[in-house]
Structure formats: C-alpha cells, structure tokens
Symmetry: C2
Subunit: 334 residues, 2 copies
C-alpha cells in the first residue's frame, strides 16, 4: 500500500541506506545521489514512515497532552495554543481525556505504550504526584497549571495560586470592601486550596472579614449558581472572589435573581479572563493568567527535557494581573 524505502531505492538505483540518508538531516549524501533519490521519491509519492523511524531512533515526536477539564471555555485557548505550538516544532499532540480518572497508573501505561517523547499534564486540579508518576516511569513530563511547591521533583509551569489569592484580597481591600466571601472551585483542586489559603491569609492581614467560604462542585455555570445561594444567606457580603469565571457568571446571575445589582449591591471578581468575561452581560473584573506564555514555556520545556532528560526540575511561574471591568466598584482614591 504505502511506498517504502526499498521501492524508492530500486527506482533510483541506489541502496536503501542512500534513500534513508537523503531523508535524515545531517547525513552524508552526494548531490548526485540526493537528486536521483528525490526524483524517485517524488515519482512514487514517498514519505518516510515516522512510526518505523521512531523504532530505530527512539523518538516518536508524539507528546501526550493530558487534560481533564474539557467543559471549561478556558480550555479552548489551552488546546488551541498547545496544538499550534507543538505543530510549529513538528510535534504531535496525543490527546488524553482524563474525565474522572485521577489515578495516573493507567494513563502512564497508555502513553508508555505509544512511546511518547514527553507528556504535558495540563490541569490545575491534580496533585503534583500525578505528574511525578510519569517521571518515575522515565517519561519527561511538565505539569502545566500545576501546583507550585518548593521541593519540586517535576517541572511545573503556571502561576503562584497562593499569591493570586492574596492578590484578590488586595483587590478588594483597594476598593474598600470590608466584608467579603470566597466562592472557590471544587475543594479537591489544588489550585482552589492554594488560592483559598492565600486569600484568607491576606484578608486577615488587610483586615477584611471573610464572612463566607464555599466551593462549587465543579467548574460550571450551574455549580456557581447553586453555590452562590449559600453566599447570599449572609446579607453583609459586599464582594465575592470566585475561583473561575464560569462559576462567577453563574454566581452573578444568582445574585441578580435575588435582586442584587452588580456592582452596587455586590461585587464580583473572577479568575481566568475567558472570552465571555468581556461581554456586556457580565463585564467581569477578573484575574488573568498569561496563558500564551505559560503554554509556550511548557512546550519549550518539554522539548528541552526530551533533548536533555537529566535536566533538573524547574518551576516557572508567571505573573497574573487584574483585568478591570465593571463587576467591582472602582479603586478608592486615598
């Protein structure tokens, strides 16, 4: 079916090695041979099989892309950027949908069977141990959006969630909010835990009262809407820090349903800056993480790992920023 090395070699009247060398860069072939081979290859429509090549070179150019939040619009960017960034370097993403599965065992097996060159675990909800499992299996791995911990044994690219939590508290404080609430993502997510910790610590330092702390069951509009009911029980809450824009939008609609005006009666601060955050209907003030930088850095790092597996684990954190829109009252002038 497919055209092979051998057929090209025969047509060109050279050895198989000669053909192979024409298609491997850095190999030594004379101009005349190369020309003959290229002509024959073209005539037959030959392209080297990467599968066969990988058997000999031990490089598949496949990168496992492991994700578990396929329902969050925030991931559209992630997929788009990862795929195009990998493609630029002639690498292919092998997509794995975790959907529920949180034990790395099976996934490691699976990607090992495909001899992927490296793996990018793109999820903010799993502990670092998930990524470490790949490391242990000898597969280069990057944990993108992963939990930052000083004694890292695996590459992590992302943000400092605790710092971002503190940033949220400061954002409230700067706008003279006194009584606030935290409406996080799922409590089991490491990002939620870190942001929550940072938020509460900073709130205490800044003299903010955190009147309510609750968590949405998942990263959906509906979960945000449901969890917001809890927050609304306390009438004193002036502003809510949400762990995700989608959750935040659900919460906003719940607040409006309860007759509250935004930002007059209650303020909202989101997280992620998804496309919809800028729509008129929400005009959400939110914390943005520099996704493009994070992803470019991750790809760069995974490539580096493949080339030099001994490389010691690195943590790369990028700064987040508050995108000012209309869901919080303005900064209080001093």
């Amino acid at each position: 079916m497919a055209v092979t090395l051998k057929e090209v070699a025969e047509l060109a009247g050279v050895s198989r090695s000669a053909v192979s060398r024409t298609f491997t860069d850095g190999a030594s072939v004379s101009a005349r041979t190369r020309e003959k081979v290229e002509k024959a290859a073209k005539a037959l429509g030959y392209r080297p099989s990467l599968i066969a090549r990988s058997l000999a070179t031990n490089r598949t150019k496949l990168i496992g892309l492991v994700a578990n939040n396929f329902q969050n619009p925030a991931f559209l960017d992630v997929f788009d950027l990862f795929t195009s960034e990998l493609q630029k370097r002639e690498l292919r993403p092998l997509l794995v949908n975790l959907s529920g599965e949180t034990s790395p065992k099976k996934i490691v097996e699976l990607l090992r069977q495909y001899s992927v060159d490296g793996v990018i675990v793109a999820t903010s909800t799993l502990p670092t141990s998930f990524a470490t499992a790949f490391q242990t299996a000898g597969i280069p791995v990057i944990h993108t959006f992963g939990k930052f911990q000083a004694n890292a044994n695996v590459h992590v690219v992302g943000i400092d969630n605790e710092f971002c939590g503190a940033m949220a508290a400061r954002t409230f404080s700067d706008r003279s909010y006194k009584t606030v609430a935290l409406l996080g993502g799922p409590e089991t997510a490491t990002s939620t835990q870190d942001r929550s910790a940072g938020f509460r610590r900073a709130a205490k330092e800044l003299g903010l009262r955190v009147a309510k702390v609750c968590y949405a069951e998942n990263y959906t509009y509906q979960a945000g809407r449901d969890a917001m009911r809890d927050v609304l029980e306390d009438d004193a809450v002036e502003a809510v820090f949400c762990g995700d824009d989608l959750i935040c939008m659900g919460a906003m609609d719940a607040a409006r349903d309860a007759g509250k005006a935004i930002p007059e009666d209650i303020g909202f601060l989101g997280f992620n800056d998804i496309g919809m955050a800028s729509w008129d209907a929400y005009s959400l003030t939110t914390i943005r993480q520099p996704i493009r930088d994070i992803i470019m850095s991750s790809v760069e790092l995974v490539v580096g790992m493949v080339e030099n597996p001994g490389r010691s684990p690195e943590i790369r954190l990028f700064p987040c920023s508050v995108i000012e829109r209309g869901s919080l009252r303005p900064v209080t002038e001093l």
Copy 2:
C-alpha cells in the same frame, strides 16, 4: 530503557513468539506458558510497544482528529465526546489544528506519516473535497459536520443544513414574524451557504420578507456584534436568524445597545445550543444538533471503515430541534 519482548522471553524461559502470543488475543498459547509469561512480564513491568506492533500489524490505533474552530465553545463538547468515545475503543486521537490552513495536502502527508488508521475531519466550514483528499490517499475518512451532497464520495455524518435553514424560517413563520434577517457565519463556510439557501427558499414559500442578509467574519461574539450593526440599519427587521450561538449573543448585545428589547422589539434564533445559550443573560432560543449522536456515529463509522475499507460512502444525517427559550415571542395560536 523500556522492557522488551526478548527480556521477558528470557526470564520466562520461552521463545519470543510465546511472549508475543500471550499479548495478542486470539493466539494459541497453553495455560502453563501464559502463566509463566505473565509472571515474568509483571516482574519486569512489560507492556508491548504499540509502535513496534503497528509496524507488523499495519494498525496504529491512531485516529487523526482534524479541526479548525478551536475558539468556539461549541467545540468543547466535540473534543470531549470524541476523545472519550475513541478512548472507549482503545483508539487515540491525534489532534491536528488546522488554524487557517485550508489545503488538505500537507495535512494528508502528515497523517500519512503517522500511519493513522483513520481520520475524522470535524469541521462544518470546509468543502467535502477536503475530506476526499484523505480518501484518495487511501486513508479512511469521515467528514463530521460536513456538507451533505447526494453524490457523496466520502462518509458524511451531520445534519441537513439546508433543512435547518428552512426550519428556522418556519420557526419565524409560526410566530407570525413577517420581516426577518439572516446573520450567518462566515460566507465561505459550506454550512453557512446551505443554511442560507434553505432559509431563503423557505422564507419565500412562507411569505416572509428577508430584509437583510449578512455574514459575520468569523465565529466570534465580536464578529456577531459587528455584523449586527448592518442588520440594525433596517428598522423593519423583527427577528434575526444567526448562524451560530456565539455570533447570536454578540448580535443580541448589539441590539440591546441600540435600545432594543428582546424579544419584544426584536427576536433572535441561534444555532448549536452551546452551554451559555441557557444562561439568564441570553436565554436564547436556538436550534440544537444532536452532537452526541453525531459523534458516536462518526466514531462507529470510522471504526467500520478501518475494518472494511471497501465500504461505500454513507451519509448519516440527524434531526435538529428548536430549543425554546426566551429570545423569540411565543408560537402564535391559530
């Protein structure tokens, strides 16, 4: 590095074939041998290399998943369903981000180099000829969300866009709208062309006046917003049929900006029923395509093609339905 067949064979004291056979179902191995092999394999942590296997069996279990609309939330479902549906059958999606590229040539080459077993082209914007290119290259292909045409030479799974266009016109007619507009997706997309044709034909038959026809530049909120300006020039327009929910939401916000109330002053009908369509801020009446069915059917079909490549091209169309919410006035009672 990785454990190979040979090492397992040595430890188990059997031939390489015996090991291979224990891991290929349907092969003949005695219970005693199998046991010995399995024990040795476990001890070494052996898993057969799918890459090496594929060289001999000519099956990689890789399916190319080609998409070009990574920015539309409608695609979250598509990715989620495709990946999980393929995984269920032990197939792996090799993701290709078309992003701009509309010539199939390079993509075909690329997927051929990875010897994918089949390809799913998941896009409603490209002509069938794009998918046909894979067919010509001898790669089983399904065009999901593709253009339906009677003389198909390639499998198509999706909806009858022309019929859906007509359905939109009927939806307007049932609610006694008289003067309407069409705000389609990009004009180059085949789905837009078909829906537009169906809409206009049915409108004529039903005595609706199509006062404005315009197209958004891409499938984004902003493009919908921009294109809506054009529609708003004609004050007589009572309802707008949009080619996509995202576009529709942009259009709705543009209308509200212009001081129009929905649905009192102007009605909107969307397409796709993305998650946000049900949010309070939009409460969008929209046409839903049964994505889950379409994708399950596509996967089933691609598997069928792989097993039986001679299979003749089939068209599978699924019915769409109007999801009634609040962006159109109610059906007029007779």
